[in-house]
Structures are given as C-alpha cells and as structure tokens.
C-alpha cells in the first residue's frame, strides 16, 4: 500500500499579468513512480512545477492530461489515502492542537472516545502531548508543523504529501524535524513525497531525488545511503552525502539558460 504513479501528467493554466494572458505549462508530461514506503524528494528552481505535481497528486489541482494513481486507483480528488502537510502548517487558529488533529479524523467519520484517543496518540508521536490544549498562536513554528504532520498522519493515509514542510523554519528546528520525520517514517513505513528547495534536506531524507526543471523531470538521482539513518550528523559527514549533494547541484545548474 502506498504506490504512487505519475503517467504523462501535464498541467497548463493561464495567468493574467498586466492585462496580458500568459499560458503557463506548469507540468509537461511528467512520469515517475514511487514505491511503497519510499521517500522521494521533488527539487528544482521555483516555478519548475514541483508544488503543482504535489497538488495534482493530492487532488487539490486537476491535471490537464495524464493520470496519477495511488495503489492503482486514479486520483480524481482528495482522499483519505493521501495526507497533506502544508508549507505553513495551516492549522485552524480557533482550534487547539488536539482539536486540529481531531478535525481530519472527524471528517473521516470518527467519533467519540476513539476520536480523542487517536488524536492524542498522534500528537504523542510528534512529541506534543503536553501542548495539546494550546492554540496555534501559542505554538512555535516547529510545533505548528508537528501538529500539521500529526493531523495528516492521524487519518492513516498510505501516502504522505509534504509541500516544503520545513522551509519556513529556522535551521535548528528544521534539523530536529528532519530527524523526527525519519523516525516517524521508520515507525510507520509511510510512503512520502515531499517538495523542497533545500539540497541537504533532499539528500538527508530521501531515497530518491527527482530534479525538475521547466515542468519536466530533468533527472532522477538515487541516494546511496542506507536506512535507517538515526544520526543525521553522521550522514552529513559521509562521502556519499557530499557526492549526492554535488550531483544534484550539478543537475540544477546545467543548462542554466533553461532556468527561468
């Protein structure tokens, strides 16, 4: 459970700038697949279509052509087989951390004691059991994103989709959350597709990195680092880390003229 396949997915939309309509080709026949339990990073310059690809997989955007399947089922809209972690957590400000996690579960139809227990369990998983009654503005940026992850995981999706989840956090918090995400992955075995613009993050977390440019898959790079990776500090010191990072850097920088 948790296989994702993109087959010839294209997405065009029109954008009006200063009265002129521009046709944007956000995705241009991209194809790739993700295995069950695999972590794949989408990386590329801004406007390369990485977020659009994620949104199409979530069902928040519709592709113009092509198909995305999750475990063989066509993606036609949002579904409980996929959980989305938003860039800025996007917690509902009037709900406590616990209620935010409960929100998704309620939508899935869970009620009563089971609802509360499940929400508490997932807040515990991200280390926030003590802060469950705080409202979002009483949480730090890192805590908010933890709640965002708990909210997405709680509905027990087979795929976790993350849109630059740690991009807005300070460096230390980001490192802590990266380690935590790997820990959660080790425990739950979820398939994860995440968007990032951070080379280090892509290499540290992913099994495979898809470099996108101009709406196309430019390159796919396998990360030759074994799992689990309990100490990311050690991973950073390895030759494999440095080599893979350099490979991505090269992939991002060749044909520089193509980058908009």
């Amino acid at each position: 459970m948790g296989q994702v396949t993109f087959t010839d997915v294209s997405k065009r939309f029109s954008l009006r700038v200063d009265g002129e309509t521009h046709l944007i080709q956000a995705l241009d026949r991209i194809s790739f697949s993700i295995d069950d339990g695999e972590i794949v990073a989408l990386i590329g310059p801004s406007g390369c279509g990485k977020t659009t690809a994620l949104r199409v997989a979530m069902g928040l955007d519709r592709s113009t052509s092509g198909r995305v399947t999750v475990d063989g089922h066509d993606v036609k809209g949002c579904g409980y087989d996929r959980g989305m972690v938003f860039q800025h957590a996007e917690l509902l400000p009037w709900l406590s951390a616990l209620q935010n996690v409960m929100f998704g579960l309620e939508m899935k139809g869970m009620r009563g004691g089971e609802l509360r227990d499940t929400a508490e369990r997932y807040l515990d998983l991200v280390g926030l059991k003590e802060s469950q009654n705080r409202r979002p503005h009483q949480l730090s940026g890192g805590m908010k994103q933890r709640v965002g992850i708990a909210r997405a995981l709680a509905i027990d999706p087979s795929v976790l989709l993350m849109d630059e989840p740690f991009g807005a956090l300070d460096a230390q918090t980001r490192e802590a959350l990266q380690a935590e995400l790997l820990d959660i992955h080790a425990r739950t075995g979820k398939t994860i597709l995440f968007v990032t613009h951070d080379l280090d993050e892509a290499v540290l977390i992913a099994d495979r990195i898809i470099v996108m440019k101009g709406g196309r898959v430019h390159d796919t790079i396998k990360v030759p680092l074994a799992r689990p990776r309990p100490d990311l500090g050690i991973v950073r010191g390895t030759v494999e880390f440095a080599e893979t990072r350099y490979k991505i850097w090269q992939a991002l920088h060749d044909n520089a003229a193509e980058i908009h």
Binding site: F103, H137, Q138
Partner: protein, 269 residues
C-alpha cells in the same frame, strides 16, 4: 496565555491609566464644558446637562420614558435580530459562490447605498403604519452592513485554510460551517457593530414618519413644545443604548472568538 499575563504585568509596572478611567475623564470633561457654555444659550436653541438630567427625571417618574423606550426597543430588536439572521447566511453564500456573487452581489451593494428614507412612504403603502413597517425599516438599514461585511470576510479567508478542509474531503457545507464561518467571525461581528448605529437611526426615522411613537414621539412632541431639554433625553438615551450594545457585542465577540484578541496580542482589561 503567557503573552496576556506579560502584558498585564507591564501595564501595572508602568502604572499606565486603565482605559475606563481615561474614557470617564473624557466624558466628565465634555459634560463640564457643555454645562459651562450651554447655560449661556437660549433654552429653545440648546440645552445643558443639568437641565437635561432634570427633564430625564421627570420623564422617568411619569413613566413616559420607559413606555416609549420599550415601544421603540420592540421594533428595534426584532428588525435588528432579523437582519443578523438573514444577513450573515446571505453574506456567507455570496462570498462562497461565484454564481450567487455575480447574480446577487450587485443588489446588496446597491442596497447599502439606497436612500432608505425615500422608501419609507412606499413601505408605508405596503405595510401600513404600525409595527411591521418599523421593523422593516430597521431591518433594511441593518441588513446591508452585516451582509456586506460577512461577504467581504468570506473572500478574505485564506485559500489554504479551505484547502485544509478539502484535503480531508470535507463537503462544502462542512467547510462553510467549520472553516469559513469561524474565520469570518471578526468581520461578521464588525458588521453587526456597524449595524447598531444604522438600526438606531432607522428606528427613529420610522417613528418620525410612520405612527409617531416611542422615543421618536418624545423627541417630536418636545421639539414642538420648544422643550429642548426634554428633546435631548431620548437622544442621549439612544446614544447610551448604542454604546452599551456596542460593548455587549464586543463582549460576545471575545466569548465566541477569543483567539482573535490573542492573535492580535491585544490587552483588554
């Protein structure tokens, strides 16, 4: 919570004056100035606080004031509550539905600017001179600010919050109730506050132009008798009522949307 206590501590440390005290001093100064200069004016053309207080006492003792007030309040409350009950859902739908907005938004915008006083004679032809016409005048004046504010509030809800609902496969009606409505509450409450003033004006207009009754009648009758001090009594009662209603709504807002103050970091005493 930590923010709030810190703010309160800071306030006591600096011994800054509480809000209510500043307001009280301001009101006392205004009344004193009015008393001082008002006494020099011919009592037909103006009045002053002590004379108005005496007139207030007479109206209160005779029972005239309370009868008039309760009469006025009946049409005010019914029209105002009706405006909230209709205005909020209509505003929510206008903000959420592109079709509804395109089809009906123009009437709401036009209705807000409508010179309602000019329509009162027509409303009288339709509804007579009694309670119904007064309610409808209050309703029409209060409806549009509530409706427009709600509508604007909905369009200001961050798209990503709605996508949170969508990503959990929430049906549109659930997104409206669980995400759009709470996110719009501050705008709705602002609309409801704006409507207080308009509803009070509408109530008096209705009492002037239809069956002369309530506080409006007290104003007209005392003005006709050149009893300016008595004429000021209902005007001041209405102003006090509007202020009271405003703080009541503010209190309700903090009860139903406490996160709003916390987010803004406002410190209320």
């Amino acid at each position: 919570m930590t923010d709030m206590t810190e703010n309160t501590n800071a306030a006591t440390e600096r011994r800054s004056m509480p809000r209510w005290l500043i307001t009280t001093i301001s009101v006392i100064c205004a009344l004193a100035l009015w008393e001082l200069f008002g006494r020099d004016v011919n009592p037909v053309f103006g009045s002053y606080p002590s004379a108005i207080a005496v007139a207030f006492w007479h109206l209160l003792v005779s029972g005239e004031l309370l009868t008039a007030l309760s009469e006025s309040l009946r049409s005010f409350v019914v029209g105002y509550v009706l405006a909230i009950v209709v205005g909020v859902p209509v505003g929510l739908v206008l903000g959420r539905s592109r079709v509804a907005e395109a089809a009906f938004g123009i009437y709401i915008t036009a209705g807000y600017a409508m010179p309602l006083v000019a329509l009162v004679p027509l409303l009288m032809l339709w509804l007579g001179l009694g309670f119904a016409v007064k309610v409808s005048v209050v309703f029409l004046m209060a409806l549009f600010p509530i409706c427009i504010n709600t509508w604007l509030g909905v369009t200001a809800v961050p798209k990503t919050l709605i996508e949170v609902g969508k990503s959990f496969v929430a049906p549109d009606i659930v997104i409206l109730r669980r995400i759009v409505l709470p996110a719009t509450l501050p705008y709705i409450m602002a609309g409801i506050r704006l409507a207080v003033g308009r509803a009070v004006v509408a109530m008096v207009i209705a009492e002037f132009f239809t069956t002369i009754s309530g506080l409006g009648a007290v104003i007209i009758n005392s003005a006709n008798n050149f009893d300016t001090a008595t004429m000021f009594v209902p005007i001041i009662v209405l102003m006090v009522m509007a202020i009271g209603l405003n703080s009541l709504i503010g209190w309700v807002e903090r009860k139903v949307a406490p996160w709003q103050d916390e987010i803004a970091g406002r410190d209320r005493e």
